[in-house]
Symmetry: C2
Subunit: 799 residues, 2 copies
């Protein structure tokens, strides 16, 4: 069953069955102010931090997830009322027609009911901390209509904990007031505790107190103020606050009207210029267009035209969008994380920053520098930290008094956790992120930039990279394989004092990246040193990790091997096998065997499972993974993040059909008509899909905030389609299904446009016979072309 479709011309996903099995979310805002909203306008907004500066309230994981950013309509002749988004009034879908269009950084809610056609478009202008609700109403009937329009949102106490527990302070430090058409919300004990809400009209009524607008023993589905048509003009110091503004209007037959509600950060005064500006609807249109331009520009950096329509839709719009959302929002604003955390997760951000330097070089560079500052001088990253802690410009800035909602700055001793809390993989990812950034931008000078270490001292970016590699070189166990430390990429695999196969492969990959970088930068001494390190790592891997048909996953502290043919549970693992191949450690024979085992044991029609069979017996030597239900999350689910590693591995092996089989299995687009199974949105990769060992096999969970976003984009564009920048040329080395005859890619790289046409006359999966640049053959990729120029590249595959 399907609930919607892709409208690629508008870069929208259109939900025409709004009663999706679970909320289908979208991300509004690309800068300081952001909102996460569902297909029924449920969700929340925040300013800078989803943990410490939540603006609107959201009650997650409730039977119906509310509240949201709602507009009610009321027929003042009949008293009947509804909402422009289906929730919260939830009119019978047989009688009212509802559609939600999720676009790039905006959502549009459309409703047709009783000859009133209404839309509410929510977006946040590029550089303003203002959420705009652009509302259009049209009388499509043949008699005049008297209507009331109401806004409604509930203000948060800023901090998620304050919203949910111990209301001893929050309820009594939160106040509201109304004046000059503007509602002000005030968290009295914060210096920056203010928001405003206004509209482009003179309100005919208002309520600032939630419980007065809704009425006792009522909720968002039947507010007393809407039911009766009369707001109570409430406000108070203390209590729960909302932003309800009412406008009465008359629409003649065929008449259309437009108005806007505005939510902003700051005191009442801050609202005045925005209210004035957006009272001119052309300004609304202008800012909306700017946002569209912003996204068009990003998308146009890389467009693909392949025989795989799902792949085109994903890479050209949604997968890029998801990758951007991850790098913009970090990982903690969603309906699942709900902003209960903030800051940067080291490994996640490092990987996110690797994947889209072409569309967001500024943010990728910012993240790289933040992560460099979060590196200890010993060479491991702080697993989770606030970049503000180490931002030289913010040192010493503090609110003048303590209050519970402000971002706490812990003492230095608490920031810098010891090696007992270090994860063995965290910083290794950053090596490739730096390399990809430089390959994309050519900014080799980044290597010489001096950055502090979290625990004191400083060094160049290049020196930071060496400390990362040297740390892993030191942190090895008896066999020479890297220690697992607290955990590796798999948080639930706590080999503890044991060793992680995956991390040694990852270490090898990072070293290879570093050697290539050093070669380009002319650092011969380092090339030599790290080539020796790589050889040592490879030897240790090949001697200790091969099991005959696949690579093991690790070795416990007691010396027990995990993931061998003798294991009844957790026999084959995805991480070690994909990385053995993609890193280059495995030779061709072992590589093929390993990936054949992955296909044989881990493949399902919804993607590759992380391990199989799932663990069913608790075993604390293996780790917490054995205390997760079979088929769920890290224990035998189709964990999405590592799936693209398998695509990369198969691409490396040149097996394009299998790579595409794996790609298509995971592709959300391909589950669009199977939502009764998938449940989650088909325009976003999810963190995981329930595995075969679970009764809900195929059910996807946790959209957007997952490493699969960036990795899927990275793997598909760079290794399946094979278009990837090198330091001095654009490499084109596809690995595709044999039956693909051709495909096209438009790629902007260092300011020049490359229109690439790939032909596959021999029906191969891999291998490039010839590359023509503007008709002239080039070798080893396409050399950098001057900024502002445009080029035609024709690639012929074959043996």
């Amino acid at each position: 069953m399907r609930y919607g479709y892709f409208d690629n011309a508008r870069k929208e996903y259109v939900i025409d069955h709004v009663n999706t099995p679970v909320p289908w979310t979208n991300y509004i805002g690309v800068n300081d102010m952001c909102a996460v909203l569902s297909q029924t306008a449920g969700g929340y907004a925040f300013y800078k931090s989803p943990q410490y500066h939540r603006i609107t309230r959201f009650r997650p994981n409730a039977p119906v997830e509310r509240p949201g950013h709602y507009v009610y309509l009321r027929d003042d002749d009949t008293g009947e009322y509804w909402s422009i988004s289906w929730q919260p009034v939830a009119k019978d879908l047989e009688k009212a027609h509802y559609v939600c269009r999720h676009g790039l950084s905006y959502s549009r809610y459309l409703c047709d009911y009783q000859d009133i056609s209404a839309s509410q478009t929510i977006f946040i202008p590029l550089n303003e901390p203002v959420e705009i609700w652009d509302v259009v109403l049209k009388n499509t009937g043949d008699r005049p209509r008297r209507l009331s329009v109401y806004s409604y949102l509930e203000f948060s106490f800023h901090h998620i904990d304050m919203d949910n527990q111990n209301f001893q302070m929050s309820l009594y430090s939160s106040g509201s007031s109304y004046a000059d058409g503007i509602i002000e919300n005030d968290l009295y004990y914060e210096e920056n505790g203010y928001q405003w809400f206004t509209a482009t009209f003179e309100p005919d009524g208002f309520d600032c107190l939630r419980d007065r607008f809704l009425g006792t023993y009522r909720d968002e589905s039947n507010p007393i103020a809407v039911e009766t048509g009369v707001c109570s003009g409430s406000f108070e110091k203390t209590g729960n606050h909302c932003a309800a503004l009412q406008k009465k209007l008359i629409l003649a037959p065929g008449e259309e009207t437009r108005l806007a509600f505005l939510l902003g950060e700051g005191k009442r005064d801050a609202a005045i210029p925005y209210r004035k500006k957006y009272s001119d609807a052309k300004q609304v249109d202008r800012e909306f267009q700017k946002l569209a331009d912003f996204w068009n520009e990003k998308c146009e950096k890389l467009q693909v035209y392949t025989p795989n329509e799902g792949m085109n839709t994903s890479l050209n719009i949604w997968n890029l969008y998801q990758s951007e959302v991850n790098i913009m929002f970090s990982r903690f604003a969603s309906f699942i994380e709900v902003g209960g955390r903030t800051g940067l997760g080291y490994r996640d951000t490092a990987q996110d920053a690797m994947t889209i330097p072409h569309s967001n070089p500024v943010k990728c560079r910012q993240r790289i520098v933040e992560l460099m500052r979060g590196l200890t001088s010993e060479g491991y990253g702080l697993h989770l930290f606030q970049p503000e802690w180490f931002d030289p410009e913010l040192q010493g800035k503090k609110q003048s008094f303590q209050s519970p909602t402000v971002v706490p700055t812990p003492s230095r001793a608490k920031m810098i956790h010891g090696i007992q809390d270090a994860c063995s993989d965290d910083a290794l990812w950053l090596v490739a992120s730096v390399c990809e950034y430089i390959k994309e931008t050519g900014e080799i000078s980044l290597l010489d930039e001096v950055v502090t270490y979290a625990d004191g001292g400083e060094g160049t970016v290049y020196e930071h990279l060496m400390r990362i590699l040297d740390f892993s070189d030191r942190q090895v166990g008896k066999t020479g394989i890297c220690k697992g430390l607290r955990a590796d990429w798999n948080d639930c695999l706590n080999l503890g004092g044991g060793e992680s196969a995956m991390v040694s492969f990852l270490h090898y990959w990072a070293i290879q990246n570093f050697i290539e970088l050093s070669e380009f930068a002319g650092k011969k001494e380092q090339v030599q040193k790290y080539a020796a390190m790589a050889a040592k790592v490879k030897k240790a891997c090949e001697e200790n990790l091969w099991d005959g048909e696949w690579y093991i996953r690790g070795i416990t502290a007691s010396g027990r091997k995990i993931g061998t043919h003798l294991d009844q549970e957790g026999r084959v693992h995805m991480e070690s096998n994909t990385w053995a191949v993609f890193s280059g450690v495995a030779d061709e024979e072992r590589g093929r065997k390993a990936m054949d085992s992955v296909d044989r044991y881990l493949y399902t029609k919804y993607g590759l499972m992380l391990n199989a069979p799932s663990y069913t017996k608790n075993d604390d030597e293996i780790g917490f993974v054995t205390r997760v239900y079979p088929g769920v999350k890290e224990n035998g689910a189709i964990f999405s993040h590592p799936n693209p590693w398998a695509w990369c591995a198969e691409a490396k092996l040149g097996r394009g059909d299998r790579a595409m089989k794996f790609y298509n299995a995971l592709l959300p687009y391909n589950q669009n008509d199977e939502i009764e199974v998938r449940q989650s949105e088909p325009y976003s990769y999810c963190q995981f899909v329930m595995g075969k060992d679970h009764t809900a096999f195929g059910r996807a969970r946790h959209p957007f905030m997952t490493g699969s976003g960036g990795w899927a984009y990275f793997a598909a564009t760079r290794y399946l389609l094979g278009v990837r920048p090198g330091y001095d040329r654009l490499l084109i080395d596809p690995c595709i299904p044999k039956d693909w005859k051709e495909f096209d890619v438009k790629r902007v790289w260092r300011g020049a446009v490359y229109r690439i046409h790939v032909e596959n006359p021999d029906g191969v999966s891999k291998g490039v016979k010839r590359i023509l640049l503007d008709g002239t053959e080039v070798f080893g990729g396409v050399p950098v072309q001057p900024e502002g120029t445009e080029h035609r590249v024709v690639v012929t595959m074959g043996k």
Copy 2:
């Protein structure tokens, strides 16, 4: 307007208008398993810890507070359905008759609708971790009825944070199953993560998955399973879980049936014996009667019969109940705290333990010992701590693996906060608690019991007391007045490096208590030493704290006096003036003046305000109180906790009319017919009532969990009615309104019953002319009588 009435014969408060302005709560359970439930059965249950082992889920501070412990009824002929408690279906109150009876540790919900009379009584047997829903249904009509009965509750992920944020783990570690009529809920990653739910019948249907029982885009008000009459038999590993059991039955005209639902702690097997036991309704009755006996015994320890009916109702039932709830539950389980904290607050628990040693000596003693263990060797108490940390029997016990829902045991270094986090009053309260406990029980040997200090070492209880007094003796400022440290009793008055008048008065009072104790224990050396300390404290107070008409509140670090006649805001404060008098520091003249100022500046018809005028200007030298809205909480509200201090002070001054004026103003009973103002339950003191400087003057907030419970009971029984134990005699020294002709008190003390009749022929407020014990005059109080005996005491007041 009133919403209910006191039914003293049943010790119940009867809510016959169940749509109260805010939830009116009750506390179920007196041991390990507890529930906090509202008049509409909303609320939550927990086992031992409201923070770490929540059993049922609750969404606090929502427009309608849900879910709860619900029973639905459905007419299987018409399809109409409702709930026995008004919520969640919320039938029109014009058509359905709803009543809630809150009793002592149970709540009964009654519903009459369409000729079905139904009741649901929720209680927890004294010594079993089982919550019983005793359901009685009667067909009061004249035709047979086919009905379905459904239970419903939603299981929690145990921890309030897990219920509200970052669902990455919780949603996937929570499972349910059904077998043999029993639902099992399983938090897979906890060793003790199990609950069961069953009923005394064979179910005709069940649902373990919340979202299957409710249906998507529905909530507790309209579950699909109830609407259609068909449960789906759902269960799963992962997701949100509920306990819905369905029973179909036919009731003949006039027929009554009875059934029970049972919620318990443990795995499925644990349910079997309880299910068997309670299938016999007589066992339900027997356990319910045991609970009634338990409370009757407590109440019978002290019963009063005065001309003040509100006082009688309060002291004989509700105020004692509230005090017991505080000592049993600590302070963190309510709809306000919502269990977001756990453990003991040092000062609160110390005061709670002082107030009811007669009705709960075991728990008071336990709390005293726990607090003694939470004392540092330096003499300050740990402001908030888990008693388990220092329980010798629990040392070293730990779950074998880390999981997020288990009570964390921090490192010792984190437990023992330094003096920078010490509050200046915390441990001082404990001195009187020990004295009152010994006076009540005669257990003088407690003083010699050896108890550890939190930071190592050990000493007798008596030695602990000396360290407390000596700490305050050392921690004085320039003028000799005690330092305020992080805060004194008023958490928001952060004089910081400054000095607190209140704490010096409190110190003096504690010393006086200690001297009296030492005298009785024959410790002459200490008597002498601490008498000198007392004299020094008194001198410092009298020289530095008198302002002419009242006592100041403190001195800031910069030497600025707070609470002087020169202050425009925060001119007069309640804490310092009441303690100046009650402690015995103030002489009669100053005492009268000080309390006259309290009456003049702080009195309102709803009680005494904490300070006046309220602060309106932020002033961080005074403290966070200046960042609280005027008239709210610590800034000029009628903060209830210190109100009884004023009654004690007036009693000390012998001004019974004013003491009773103050008493009556705060008494919740007296607001029973003014609920449109009070809003909160009239059977419980609330933490505060909005003060005159707030628009909602008279609105009460935070029932039950407040120090006003114990203190009101303590002050009224011991200082207004004047019946208080000494070390070797029962003192009787009333301070009453002049127009009281007589009153009676029944008091059980050290195993003997004293039936005390007090006559006031001269119309005095204070002064006892004669005490007759069984007809014989005694002097200086009534000497201890043999256990098991009963005595008649006649007291004649007069000059």
